[in-house]
Symmetry: C2
Subunit: 230 residues, 2 copies
DNA sequence: CTTCAAATGCGTAAGTTTTACACAAATATA
DNA sequence: TATATTTGTGTAAAACTTACGCATTTGAAG
């Protein structure tokens, strides 16, 4: 049974990736619909018996081949009433992160093509997707300061300089290397391994690892991160 | 035109009020539906051409008589697939604040009765509304620390002790009166008036006022509040 | 093999913010 | 006039942030 309500529920996924000191967003070229051929966020309509987050996972998987690691609800965009001329669409946006290394893009179903776009090279997108990305980027930036959300974007073992570069890139600001290391290590959930960086010039740095179990313990105790830098 | 999608879109409003050192939530007793007679959050289905936030304002107004001041999107609850046995309901929850003083409750349409419940006396609610309130309360608490969200709950002019009590009540912790005043005044958007508290014992305190224009200026400059206390 | 540039690891002093508390001033009431 | 209550202001200690200096380890160049 259905009310006489002419609204369709969709989901969109804003999936961030990081590589070579740049932040990327996963986009698809639309195969069907009123905005055929335009680039857009992966997403689509929710199935009747499907949880919202599962709908996002499914759509991203179908349209890009990417299996998302971290995913959380961002915002529900429902006021763009003319988004589709045929009916109103309300879309629940989720934002997520993925380590794009070795992640093979494999567009199917509704997508002609899938591609990682560096955030400063994103073309004009379909619907209100440019605005949605802006909101997602703000959320990513603010979350970086109080949740260990950046680690999903790196390899599981990483030199400290990578983590530092990630923060500088996403926050778009300089960070003092030495103070950053001190601060992050003092938080207690980033631990050193006995491995070292293999390639590159200069003294090879130790590799570190994010200990999520430790983090959850600390989180439970109510310890706050407050990772801020100058 | 409508897809073959059996999902109905609703909104819920979590409206907080503060009075006499207690935090309240606005609830209604349901008149119709599968959970008739149970207490619930005000809310209802979205009209086809209605913005989500307007739907919340309308439903809260209709069901309780309350005209909400501050309102922002909280979260979209869509996984409780069995909420209504007749069809699936996805609900976009908004949380808001209101100064309940002189606010007359006037339930109509879907509500038998409307009432402010102190948050520690809330009965078992319909649907997943108890969970929704929990999420809203968390958001209110965390927002209090970095946005001037508490002022909507007070009169426009207030003694400092009221603001301090509000923070202590909502955050459920002791705050040092002197450090709190210093910190808040240093932020620069709470200004003193030349009026004084009228009643009560002890030395009458100056009344203060939230200057939202000043706050917006400071916000634009990127100044952060970080109102934390011991 | 020595020198150099680049990246890393560690430390410390100065500056800023937070925390903990003490006491004087203004009012109502007894 | 004395007392309880609430308000207004200050200040020292502790904690945290910021700004750097310098020695160490590596690969590459001479």
């Amino acid at each position: 049974m259905k009310l006489a309500q002419n609204i369709n529920l969709a989901v969109d996924g804003i999936i961030f990736g990081y590589e070579d000191q740049s932040l990327f967003v996963l986009l698809i070229k639309q195969k069907y619909g009123s905005q055929k051929g335009k680039w857009a966020l992966p997403g689509g309509f929710v199935l009747d018996n499907e949880k919202l987050i599962d709908a996002v996972k499914r759509e991203v998987r179908e349209e890009t081949g990417v299996k998302v690691q971290y995913l959380e609800q961002l915002y529900t965009f429902g006021d763009n009433i003319d988004r589709d001329p045929r009916f109103r669409v309300v879309s629940v946006a989720y934002f997520g992160t993925v380590n794009p290394k070795h992640m093979i893009l494999n567009p199917t179903t509704d997508a002609l093509e899938a591609k990682w776009y560096a955030i400063d090279t994103i073309p004009k997108l379909a619907f209100d997707h440019s605005d949605i990305i802006k909101v997602a980027l703000e959320r990513l930036r603010s979350k970086l300061n109080y949740q260990p959300i950046g680690f999903n974007l790196l390899d599981s073992k990483f030199p400290f300089s990578d983590l530092e570069q990630l923060y500088m890139t996403i926050l778009d600001q300089k960070i003092d290397r030495r103070n950053f290391r001190k601060k992050v290590l003092s938080l207690g959930f980033v631990e050193e391994t006995d491995e070292f960086r293999k390639s590159g010039s200069g003294r090879p740095g130790k590799l570190f690892r994010f200990n999520s179990k430790k983090y959850k313990e600390l989180e439970k105790k109510g310890i706050n991160l407050d990772i801020k830098f100058a």
